[in-house]
Symmetry: C2
Subunit: 336 residues, 2 copies
DNA sequence: GCAACAACGGCAAGCGGTTGCCAGAAGTTG
DNA sequence: CAACTTCTGGCAACCGCTTGCCGTTGTTGC
């Protein structure tokens, strides 16, 4: 009731009260240099007294600037995105923007639809771990400002955590432990990272003379990890690299369930170093990265696109270093 | 470039192309019953051909309906909110709304500020685990539609997971294991749940003749769990109930770090049954709840407020049942 | 066959801001 | 002191869509 009667004051109310034109009030509020300081202060005082708050919808309409950015993640229940979300939020807030978070639930359709839905009400999109095709992303980028996370595409700004060096580190770590064979439990086919990680692993394995096989694809979830574990155990490899920590943790459980031991019977490595990867038993060896920074930089480069035209500035593709976190899930290769 | 040249078509473009008035196009799109089916189909076809997409900003301005709801959580890195977020999103989507997610980072100021910022651009707010004072929430509710999660306040719709029965269950479980004393490691003072949980525990303990003490407050994080563990161990109690799973998991680690064992030396119970609570070792005994349902219902009752006036309908306060998940972190009380 | 009434499409006034343009006031310059 | 900038504030035209109201046309009832 109270809610409905009292309408929010508008600049017209403030203008009337301050005995000025609405346009002057508007300027005093959003373009302070344009009016005299006396006027500005007067307006501010009146606005304050009336409890005036800009209607962000109304101001976005003529100006086209919504001061809102959207972040889409492929699965909001994956702790991997925590850091990214936090980082993005901080950067957005620092830039005076609101962050809208969307969960695409691993579906390229949901992704495309949600993005289209938001269309005109945001200044741009940060898409993390997109499942869309390159073509769809390009089409999207033709209509909106887009920055990518965990994916690279020519001409678009992106932020990824290095996987070339990271996978090399993983392989060398395993090699040092005496492993001679590894399997990669692949993530979704649509995930750009799936191929990248496999390529990195395969190449590094070749270099150290380790055999490597790719199995899957699997959904990047704990549940699918059980399946992946069975497949990995069946493969005869002594080391398994899961597409992400969620899968890896699911594998740890399944291996234990089957009465085998990690790392004695099988070494397991994950990606992301998520919350939970250090409380599992054994704790998970995993490739971590500065994900908060990833989120921050992605928003940053999205907002940065404002000025530089896409052609001129050459969208920057940022690669942040990863680091291998060695914990209990990797150990000496079992002797045959 | 492509992005900037081609402006999105508007209803005027569609109207011109369809040789109709803009108002008719508007109606065909958003109020189909108001035009003849022939006209509607014609408009739809033209709109489709032109790739028309409503500008949600523009339509929200005159109508006042933004088809957007905001969900604020106190800490987005707490997996507890996963289910709530998912549930809220699903329900929002089902109702044709977009969900905006906000992280208030445990701060009532951030909470109030962010809510005010969004003010006019959402249809309402779902606030989970609010840290604001009752007065501030009431003030907010005077200006916007608000639904609460994990908090009750007269006159406002809310969804909580039962704690009365839940805490009783916890206490009885501990009593059955022979425990005669428990400590509650309290959460933030501003969290409504902190007092509620303590009250429930204290009352249940009294009834079974168990001693209960409240310690803290602590931040509801893993980090603070270490501190809580030390305090709990120092208290001499044989059972510790942490404010949430994050704290409880932090406690598990700290206890192990100090060379003691859970549950042999100390039984530990948490709240929420978050992701991670079953992969810790020992796995955590915790009070779970249907959190996805919580999120869903909260959005539901928020959107339901549309029709029924707040006074008339008597805001519904929903209480969902909790369930105790017994795992390895609770065991027989140590014999003295 | 005509009044009464739907049904349907169009007009135009908003929603609450932003902003290009103009004009009067104030400040500079020679 | 005239001529010319620079400041400031106001006017009014949007931004793209919604919606109350009106007029036309087609239907129905008697």
């Amino acid at each position: 009731m109270a809610r409905d009667e009292r309408k929010r004051p508008t600049i017209y109310d403030v203008a009337r009260e301050a005995e000025l034109a609405p346009s002057t009030v508007s300027r005093a509020l959003s373009n302070p240099g344009r009016v005299s300081s006396r006027t500005r202060e007067h307006v501010l005082a009146v606005a304050d007294r009336l409890g005036y708050q800009v209607n962000s919808l109304a101001s976005a309409l003529p100006s086209g600037r919504t001061h809102t950015v959207a972040l889409f993640v492929s699965d909001i229940t994956n702790p991997h995105f925590f850091g990214i979300i936090r980082g993005a939020e901080h950067q957005a807030r620092a830039a005076g923007c609101t962050l809208i978070l969307g969960d695409t639930e691993e579906s390229p359709e949901v992704e495309a639809r949600n993005i289209e839905r938001l269309g005109s009400s945001v200044d741009g999109f940060v898409v993390a771990a997109s499942r869309m095709t390159d073509e769809d992303i390009e089409a999207l980028a033709g209509k909106h400002r887009v920055a990518l996370i965990s994916r690279q595409l020519a001409g678009l700004p992106s932020v990824i955590v290095d996987h070339v060096d990271g996978t090399r580190e993983i392989v060398e770590h395993l090699a040092a432990l005496g492993h001679e064979s590894l399997v990669y439990l692949a993530g979704p086919r649509r995930a750009w990272l799936t191929d990248q990680r496999w390529r990195g692993l395969a190449q590094a394995a070749r270099r150290v003379g380790m055999s490597a096989r790719r199995l899957g694809p699997f959904q990047p979830t704990m549940r699918a990890g059980a399946n992946a574990a069975d497949v990995a155990l069946g493969s005869g490899a002594t080391a398994a690299v899961a597409h992400n920590d969620l899968m890896a943790i699911g594998m740890l459980r399944r291996v234990a369930e089957r009465g085998m031991r990690v790392p004695d019977d099988l070494s397991v490595v994950g990606f992301d170093d998520i919350f939970g990867s250090d409380i599992s038993s054994p704790a998970l060896t995993t490739l971590g990265g500065p994900f908060e920074e990833v989120g921050r930089l992605a928003v940053d480069s999205l907002l940065g696109m404002r000025e530089k035209s896409r052609e001129a500035g050459r969208a920057e593709q940022i690669v942040l270093p990863s680091h291998l976190v060695i914990r209990g899930s990797t150990g000496k290769a079992p002797v045959r």
